[in-house]
């Protein structure tokens, strides 16, 4: 076979990419503002729902009112706030294909602000730790549990934002230089913090990105442990589910990959970013998506088989609540969307190696994930007396009221809104990362064909 000149893959230059991204950054489409308005309205509706719930107070009798807020909080923690982990993890693994979407993951750190705000009413909704099981044991209630949570969550949000600010500096410098007189250019000047691109600055950036990423990676499981321990396990009498925080982390990783895929698809379809989010990105993310879907089942099963086999009185009641009875339907739905569906779809090469396949599966995973979080937390918040030894009576499944629906929709819309706003301040494609990647790629003739050579910088 003769070398086919038309088969030679080609890559843009760093300059072309920078020009393209800055041009997109500069022009703000009308569609963008329309979507901002819609999201803002939905967010306000969420606030309305929250205020309606607020009127009923935080007492023992009204604890079940807050289940959906807590479920939303957990869902947002396990999707939007898990995305920086993807950026950190793939940077550590030196995966070249992550470069186009890494800024999406980092920009999502901004949603930590809303999530942190939502944490406050969630903590207020919890009963005192005295007389019930708690990971804080007999530590003074307020300091340990509310103070501890606020501190740990706050640190996570801070690290995420620090990571974002650090890795965005070179691109903010690009914005500063491209649009020096505009309002965004002036903000960019501050955020660029004097970035000139010296060797020292690049070294600090690379090391800092790795360090902040590692800290985020290490702290995130702690946050999930507190989420599970305080908002679920602490309210379910007799539960001893050590795997629950680990399950939550794995589910969060699945959610993060899924949300990245959906975001890329939307940006490709409606934002015209096809050249950045190609088959390579979707295919590469589809593989960990399949792996996390299998792990979703594995972690669920490890918990289930221990309780099922043990047949202890307390465990049987919990099985009835979470799996076999009250919340069986939500479990079945999320079982299908988070495990069966992804398994059956993604084991096929043509589906995995496509744009639509992983996106469809990812969308299902997000819906399933939300339902799963509702199962975990609404059930826990509907327990009348968390101080019992064995759960009795087993509460029935609780459907959302209008306020609950508004809170869920408002929370998700708020996070999307924040992401869209920050993406108009910090370029949503990382110019320097993509540029760095392009410098490490070349095309060469390899015997009877052309091949791509990818270098790995250290």
């Amino acid at each position: 076979m003769a070398l086919d000149e038309h088969a030679i893959p080609s890559f843009p230059t760093h300059q072309e990419v920078a020009k393209d991204i800055l041009e997109r950054y500069q022009t703000v489409d009308q569609r963008y503002w329309r979507w901002i308005s819609v999201l803002a309205l939905l967010f306000v509706a969420g606030i309305v729902g929250f205020v309606l719930r607020l009127n009923e107070g935080f007492g023992e009798e009204s604890r079940s009112n807050w289940g959906y807020l807590v479920a939303t909080l957990s869902f947002l923690l396990s999707t939007f706030l898990a995305m920086p982990i993807l950026s950190a993890g793939l940077r550590l693994a030196k995966a070249n294909w992550r470069r186009p979407f890494t800024r999406i993951n980092e920009n999502m750190a901004i949603t930590g602000l809303l999530v942190y705000l939502m944490l406050i009413p969630a903590l207020l909704a919890l009963p005192a730790t005295e007389g019930r099981l708690s990971v804080w044991f007999d530590f003074p209630h307020w300091m340990a549990f509310k103070g501890g949570n606020l501190m740990v969550w706050g640190t996570l949000v801070l690290i995420g934002l620090s990571l974002l600010l650090l890795v965005a500096a070179p691109d903010m410098a690009a914005v500063r230089d491209h649009m020096p007189n505009s309002r965004r250019g002036k903000i960019a000047r501050i955020m660029a913090a004097g970035w000139v691109g010296s060797t020292r600055q690049w070294r600090v950036l690379h090391s800092g990105a790795l360090l902040f990423g590692a800290f985020y990676l290490l702290l995130y499981p702690t946050v999930q442990t507190l989420m599970q321990a305080d908002f679920q396990a602490g309210l379910l009498p007799g539960i001893k589910d050590a795997i629950a925080p680990a399950t939550a982390v794995i589910n969060a990783l699945q959610g993060a990959v899924a949300l990245t895929l959906v975001t890329m698809y939307i940006m490709r379809r409606f934002g015209g970013y096809e050249r950045y989010f190609g088959i390579d990105q979707f295919w590469s993310l589809a593989k960990p998506l399949l792996a996390f879907s299998l792990l979703w089942f594995y972690f669920w099963w490890a918990s289930f088989i221990t309780f099922w086999y043990g047949r202890q009185p307390g465990e049987s009641e919990l099985l009835k609540l979470l799996i076999l009875d009250s919340y069986r339907n939500p479990l079945m739905i999320s079982f299908f969307l988070n495990f069966i569906g992804p398994l059956v779809a993604l084991i096929w090469n043509p589906v995995r190696k496509s744009i639509w396949g992983p996106t469809l599966v990812a969308a299902g995973i997000l819906v399933g994930g939300l339902i799963n979080h509702i199962r975990w937390y609404v059930s826990a918040f509907s327990v009348e007396d968390p101080g019992q030894h064995v759960l009795s009576p087993i509460p029935a499944g609780q459907l959302p009221t209008a306020s609950d629906a508004l809170i869920v929709v408002g929370g998700i819309s708020g996070c999307i809104l924040l992401f869209m706003l920050i993406s108009k301040l910090i370029p949503v494609i990382s110019i320097w990362e993509v540029g760095e990647g392009l410098r490490l790629v070349k095309v060469r003739k390899f015997l009877g064909r052309y091949a791509i050579v990818i270098a790995k910088s250290h």
Binding site: A93, V135, T225, A242, T306, A455
Partner: protein, 456 residues
């Protein structure tokens, strides 16, 4: 990373087939020594079968001791093979190449050693046949599929068969190389084993697909095996065993000890077989970084186990943990386990100089496995010592010299299996090394040639 002097195919053949085509004196000496240890262990087993299980330290209520600890330990070591081979193959990590076969082979032999342990532990191993098959139809009983003790052998046998097939499939091209280099009786034997391999594009394509497919299929098996072993404990109601986190905790612990064992193996192989051209600092550096991640995940799961063990404030649970952590000699063992598994090695691995030092990595990897053996021991024995609710049921456990001998024998057994394997088959895949060399390239950035790889 792996961009050193490139070797010709002939040079790779010559250097990696050294012990296959010739028999060095050190090989005979070491195998003899290992053989003596194994013989000692076999004698100990014979003595135990003759005298009864009373010669061990097993007493009511501690009926699981060193043998079961060793069983879990070897199943744990076996997880290295799939971790290195399958996961790194699927993630296209180039640095896996020199270690895949050694890791996979260690998996196979570790599983064999682990399967031997329950047989020895039974005391009268021949009675296991009654348990597996209906001895006569009048007995009216099959193995109870509801028991995790039935899930165990099925899972381990599945993993053993799968790993063996995995090793063999990837070995075929190398068998062809040995076939072409052999003379005399070896030629038809290797020829038969090579199945007539030519090395045409069809065969290579399918070899590549086999690697990917088998990796993808064996990964779920790898996760399930040690999970099922963990459910021997997890589904029981023994205090401190009935924990949901045991499955991933055991699996990640297995990966931790298994990958550490691969590090040990690679360093010893490099020294004995003079593989400096194939096993470099970069490889153990990469393994050490992997170990940091794995060890950190393991530590997270350990803390979950501890926190939620104390969560319900159940008396028996607290008693077991108190025994483990505060009552000597168990507390001393706990201290050694904790230090050896995590506190000493992981901070050391954070330093590049340590990661790239063969001496440091050898000792830290050995330390990890000492710690992980103790970890399994501390999970099993203290829980059984305080199993009953009444203090008159409390007992202690002291392993006997017989048990120590048998444990030592299993280590010697696996080592001798590996040694014998290396006599007939290369421990580093020749075709993988050659493929790695073909794919080496570089990208010029400014004045620097950045090492790179050709992507298919």
């Amino acid at each position: 990373m792996y961009y050193r002097r490139t070797l010709t195919e002939a040079q790779i053949n010559q250097q990696l087939l050294g012990t296959v085509l010739t028999t060095p004196l050190w090989w005979i000496i070491i195998l003899s020594g290992l053989g003596i240890i194994v013989a000692g262990a076999v004698s100990a087993v014979g003595f135990m079968v003759n005298q009864g299980l009373g010669v061990t330290g097993l007493r009511q209520p501690v009926f699981w001791g060193f043998f079961i600890t060793n069983f879990i330990f070897w199943v744990g070591i076996s997880h290295a093979g799939v971790m290195i081979s399958a996961i790194l193959r699927l993630s296209q990590a180039e640095w896996r190449r020199p270690m895949v076969r050694a890791a996979e082979t260690m998996t196979v032999f570790s599983l064999m050693a682990s399967l031997v342990m329950p047989l020895i532990h039974a005391g009268r191993p021949w009675r296991i046949f009654y348990w597996v098959f209906p001895y006569d139809w009048a007995r009216g009983i099959w193995p109870d599929v509801r028991s995790p003790l039935v899930w165990d052998p099925i899972a381990i046998t599945t993993y053993l068969l799968s790993s063996t097939l995995f090793v063999y499939t990837a070995l075929i091209p190398d068998l062809a190389i040995i076939r072409d280099r052999s003379t005399g009786w070896r030629k038809p034997v290797y020829g038969a084993l090579a199945l007539g391999w030519h090395g045409n594009p069809r065969q290579w394509k399918l070899q590549g697909l086999a690697g990917i497919l088998l990796s993808a299929l064996i990964l779920p098996v790898f996760v399930s095996v040690h999970s099922i072993v963990s459910w021997d404990f997890g589904v029981s109601l023994v205090p401190s065993w009935h924990v949901t986190v045991f499955a991933p905790y055991f699996v990640i612990g297995a990966v931790h000890s298994g990958v550490s064992a691969v590090v040990t193996l690679m360093i010893i192989m490099r020294k004995l077989y003079k593989l400096e051209n194939f096993i470099w600092e970069e490889h153990i550096d990469a393994l050490a970084r992997l170990l940091i991640v794995v060890a950190s995940a393991w530590m997270f799961l350990f803390w979950l186990d501890l926190i939620f063990a104390l969560w319900l404030k159940e008396e028996q649970e607290m008693t077991v943990w108190h025994l483990r952590m505060f009552e000597p000699p168990w507390s001393w063992l706990f201290f050694v386990f904790f230090m050896a598994s995590f506190v000493i090695p992981v901070p050391l691995w954070l330093f590049r100089r340590v990661r790239r030092s063969f001496t440091w990595m050898l000792w830290t990897s050995l330390l990890v496995n000492v710690g992980m053996f103790l970890e399994r021991f501390l999970i099993i024995v203290p829980a059984l010592m305080r199993k009953g609710p009444m203090t008159f049921d409390y007992a202690t456990y002291r392993p006997s010299p017989i048990e120590f001998t048998i444990i030592g024998g299993t280590i010697a057994l696996v080592a001798s299996f590996l040694l014998v394997f290396s006599k007939f088959f290369p421990l580093i895949p020749l075709w993988e090394e050659k493929e790695g060399q073909i794919l080496i390239d570089s990208v010029r950035v400014g004045n620097v040639d950045v090492p790179g790889l050709v992507k298919e």
